[in-house]
């Protein structure tokens, strides 16, 4: 059962082959068994979870179940969930119980889904290995010595280790896609503004976007149906008509379902810095797409090499301001002793934030300072537009852009922990889409030395449905996405 698709799980529930309580209990048992070693979940509350499952069972019995009703999901701990400890992976919020639901959480609730718990993550989503979490690192289920990627590392490990049916994540520079690549599953970062950020703890507001993390494109489509939609409480939420993201999936049949599809391959994504074995797996996947009828076109994203420097100006700038509210005054960590107001601020923040968060607050404060703003923040905004323009040009030539998701497979815990720049390079292929606000996806494309490798798909604005079809077509003829780590069956 744990390997089943969301669609199959939903059918099992509908046919009363299993109740939501039983299904949920199965996952809770697995969590009980494996979470102590994997550390995917930060907060669990079995009573709350099972109560939700009971409500779902009643809804199913009453015959008004929605597609996800009764299915147990994991929520990244970046989403406020009423009555749940909501920490964002930080000591600063270790004692924070959210008094309200994030839009995403409310949408899953309304769909009748069951919340298994809150998943581990890099502190305030700042990291690519989950090692900056106050609650400790997360094991990559494929190799416990390795990291699951980040920042959505807990959700990633939970999906890969089948400790949930699927999970939510957020992606500011690659935080859904890079862990999807490193843990071997399907993850989608939607168009900026497609999923409301209300109740999602902000890291870099102009880049943050929530999305699904699941076994397959089909599962992601079902989840996106629940997550996407206009929300007046988020001024950057886009008033885009509701779509059924599963609508085209059933047409991905026959020999050449992707006839006429033009796939752009950015030459900049296949150069130095890309692991040769990863490159081979990605090339093979792209070759498979050719077999499915797609046409391959070499394209160029000439400004993409500036993505990382631009991102590490803009994201910390926004973060330095977003994280100012954690001052120990109203909620969150406050130092036990302090001499005056400034001392309270300094001690509370010095104790409450970890090293990476502090590094980014310092960078952000610096680049916004009088005298530096024009040279850093303003310049970065200008380059951001150039990067977005690259994609506008590219999508005149092709429908979908493909390349590697991450430059390497999962690395060893501690390997890059002391080298921030090496860590930042993990997102070298994913950041550009965040800067442009475009949707991006990672799907399992094979293995290198027993570790999963992801293929990245990048689409035009609001092209999620098409991307999901393209991913689904591949998953119809390959079974990389069905592979499961050994030792946790």
């Amino acid at each position: 059962m744990i390997n089943n698709s969301l669609k199959t799980l939903s059918q099992m529930l509908a046919k009363k082959e299993i109740s939501s309580v039983e299904m949920t209990q199965t996952f809770l048992n697995r969590i009980n068994q494996y979470n102590p070693s994997i550390n995917a979940y930060i907060a669990l509350d079995n009573a709350k979870t099972l109560a939700q499952a009971k409500v779902a069972d009643a809804r199913i019995a009453a015959g008004n179940a929605a597609p996800l009703t009764g299915i147990p999901f994991a929520q990244k701990d970046i989403f406020c969930a009423k009555g749940w400890q909501t920490t964002c992976g930080s000591k600063m919020l270790a004692n924070f119980i959210a008094p309200y639901d994030a839009h995403v959480v409310a949408q899953f609730d309304a769909a009748g889904a069951v919340n298994l718990g809150k998943t581990n993550m890099d502190e305030f989503a700042m990291g690519s290995s989950n090692e900056t979490s106050y609650f400790g690192g997360v094991k990559n289920p494929w190799d416990f010595d390795r990291v699951p990627g980040g920042s959505s590392g807990g959700s990633a490990a939970a999906v890969a280790a089948r400790l949930c049916a699927a999970a939510t994540g957020t992606d500011t520079g690659g935080s859904i896609r890079q862990p999807a690549s490193l843990c071997g599953f399907t993850g989608l970062k939607p168009t900026y503004g497609l999923v409301s950020r209300y109740g999602m703890i902000a890291f870099a507001s102009s880049l943050d976007q929530a999305g699904p993390m699941a076994k397959s494109a089909e599962d992601c489509a079902l989840m996106l149906n629940v997550m996407a939609g206009f929300d007046v409480r988020d001024s950057t939420s886009l008033n885009h008509p509701k779509e059924d993201y599963t609508r085209g999936l059933s047409q991905m049949t026959g020999d050449k379902p992707l006839n006429g599809l033009k796939i752009g391959l950015p030459k900049e994504f296949f150069g130095d810095g890309l692991d040769a074995n990863v490159a081979k797996v990605v090339q093979d996947a792209i070759a498979e797409y050719k077999k499915l009828g797609a046409e391959l076109i070499e394209i160029s994203l000439p400004s993409s090499h500036l993505s990382i420097p631009v991102y590490y100006v803009l994201a910390p700038a926004e973060a330095s301001s977003n994280l100012s509210r954690y001052d120990g005054v109203r909620y969150g960590h406050r130092a036990a002793e302090y001499s005056d107001l400034n001392d309270m601020y300094m001690k509370s923040r010095a104790e409450g934030f970890g090293a990476e968060v502090k590094r980014r607050i310092l960078i952000g404060t610096y680049v916004l300072s009088a005298g530096y703003y024009d040279a850093y923040y303003l310049k970065a905004q200008q380059i951001r537009r150039l990067i977005a323009d690259d994609f506008v040009q590219a999508f005149k030539q092709c429908d979908i852009i493909m390349g590697p998701t991450a430059p390497s497979t999962a690395f060893k815990a501690g390997e890059k922990a002391d080298d921030p720049v090496a860590m930042y390079l993990q997102d070298v292929y994913t950041i550009a889409t965040n800067l442009a606000g475009l949707p991006g996806m990672s799907i399992p494309a094979g293995f290198s030395n027993g570790l999963p490798v992801g293929l990245q798909l990048m689409g035009n604005y609001f092209d999620e449905a098409r991307m999901l079809e393209v991913a689904h077509a591949y998953q119809q003829v390959t079974d990389w996405h069905l592979a499961m780590p050994k030792g946790i069956e």
Partner: protein, 492 residues
């Protein structure tokens, strides 16, 4: 003191006007004044993790109204920025404000500076640099619990329009005239309740001095949070004198923020600007740039009341009022509305203006008005005043009798309408010519000497006879009729 003639003071104002909206500028929480602490602090006001701001359209409308009222440029696009600093009553650690691109750009306000001693009254144009939308902070309450500070976030997120002038004012009188004009204008167009005690209208005044005849601006000090015009006048006068004396003594002015102490009448530096924060302004990524289209402006324009200048001109042409009366009636929307109502209820314009600017204003301004009755809410409604003036117009009562009725209505001495009071006080004017003839006959019979004097050509005797007749009628006889009948009888 004597040195003042060599110096010129340069003043600019920044005014925070609290906008009359139902809810906060970025959330649905109430902005009602005086609620229990933190009962109006929703998740946005307390800056919980994950919350986002949503701009209140009413606040935008208020800002556009102001822009239209001062004939300002209203750019198509303005941007909300974050002003970053730490303070316990600033829950997000930044204030959402507008920095480079405000909603209202250059405009102007015309002020009337009153006569002072041998200086005649004059008009002056004060240029407005900009007006921008921003959110208010909360309040720190020190010492409510001993040794601790309480934070009340009810006010956090209250919509403000900060209105900034050019350094165009050259005296405390001009600054106060500007502040009063602005205070009246924002109430006139209905965007602010003008309540200075509750902080709905707060002025920061930038003051610098320079040798007369020079162009270069001196170093300025900013007097913060003045909440009465009287204090503003005193503070500017003290600050100006202090700066002049400091410079004449060879000292230097340090740029600083100062507070005015009403008890001592002095200004005192609060913090020097060198220690000031670097606010690290940048565009708020949670809010899209604000677009104000021509259609938006037209829609708001349609809701705009007639502005004071236009109304004044209309009062002169339509009602034949003097420039002075028209100007006086349009210093406040409430007064203007009261006047228009009075006329609408049938009073003639000129007497209505006289009564409003005379008797009624005197009543409202006297210290005896301990209940702080206002023109909009006092026992004599525009309808009642009109009813009273109509009785004067139709000769039902004399002007003197009308004053007695007015008094009675003001104190609520007699319940009922104007006619009931006239009746109860026996003030109805006698206009029955038969009755008046009878009275005059009696007066003539009783005063043969006066009649003789009149016939001998002494005009004064006529007035004496009128006086006698009025007295005999207990003041109720219609004076015009008495005059006419007496003339007729004496000529017979």
């Amino acid at each position: 003191m004597m040195a003042n003639n060599n110096w010129e003071v340069v003043i600019g104002l920044e005014t925070h006007t609290q906008l009359k909206t139902n809810t906060k500028i970025f959330s649905g929480a109430s902005i009602q004044y005086g609620a229990e602490p933190n009962t109006q602090a929703d998740e946005v006001s307390t800056a919980l993790p994950g919350v986002l701001p949503v701009l209140n359209g009413q606040a935008v409308e208020c800002a556009i109204k102001f822009g239209l009222a001062i004939n300002a440029e209203i750019p198509e696009r303005s941007v909300f920025s974050r002003k970053n600093y730490f303070y316990p009553d600033l829950p997000k650690g930044y204030q959402i404000s507008q920095f480079e691109l405000p909603i209202v750009a250059k405009g102007a306000v015309i002020i009337q500076v009153p006569a002072n001693g041998k200086n005649a009254a004059y008009e002056k144009v004060i240029n407005i640099t900009r007006a921008h939308l921003e959110e208010d902070a909360g309040k720190s309450n020190h010492g409510v619990v001993e040794g601790m500070s309480g934070i009340d976030l009810n006010r956090a997120g209250t919509p403000l329009l900060e209105i900034v002038t050019e350094p165009d004012m050259r005296s405390a009188a001009e600054a106060v005239a500007y502040a009063k004009k602005l205070h009246e204008l924002v109430q006139w167009i209905g965007i602010c309740d003008g309540n200075m005690q509750e902080g709905s209208f707060r002025c920061d005044v930038n003051v610098s001095v320079r040798p007369k005849g020079t162009e270069k601006l001196g170093t300025r000090r900013e007097i913060k949070n003045l909440n009465s015009f009287k204090f503003m006048q005193e503070a500017i006068e003290y600050e100006t004198q202090w700066q002049i004396e400091t410079l004449e003594d060879g000292g230097k002015i340090q740029q600083a923020t100062v507070l005015f102490n009403p008890d001592t009448g002095e200004t005192k530096a609060m913090r020097s600007k060198e220690e000031a924060n670097d606010y690290r302004y940048f565009p708020d990524p949670d809010l899209l740039p604000l677009e104000v289209t021509a259609a938006d402006k037209a829609r708001v324009q349609a809701t705009m009341p007639e502005l004071p200048e236009a109304m004044k001109a209309r009062f002169e042409s339509e009602y034949g009022l003097s420039n002075y009366d028209a100007a006086s009636l349009t210093t406040s929307r409430d007064v203007a509305d009261y006047f228009v109502e009075t006329v609408k209820h049938g009073a003639q314009a000129k007497p209505a203006a006289n009564w409003i600017l005379g008797a009624l204003t005197a009543k409202l301004n006297t210290e005896l008005n301990t209940e702080h009755k206002s023109i909009a809410s006092n026992p004599i409604s525009a309808r009642l005043l009109a009813a009273l003036l109509k009785r004067v117009q139709d000769n039902n009562i004399s002007n003197n009798a009308a004053k007695q009725v007015f008094e009675a209505m003001w104190v609520g001495e007699i319940a009922g309408d104007v006619d009931a009071i006239i009746e109860a006080k026996g003030l109805k004017q006698e206009s029955d010519s038969g009755a008046i003839e009878g009275i005059i006959d009696e007066v003539l019979a009783a005063n043969p000497a006066m009649v003789e004097e009149f016939k001998a050509g002494r005009e004064k005797a006529f007035n004496a006879l009128i006086g006698q007749a009025m007295k005999a009628s207990k003041g109720k006889a219609n004076p015009a009729q008495v005059n006419e009948i007496l003339k007729k009888k004496l000529a017979a």
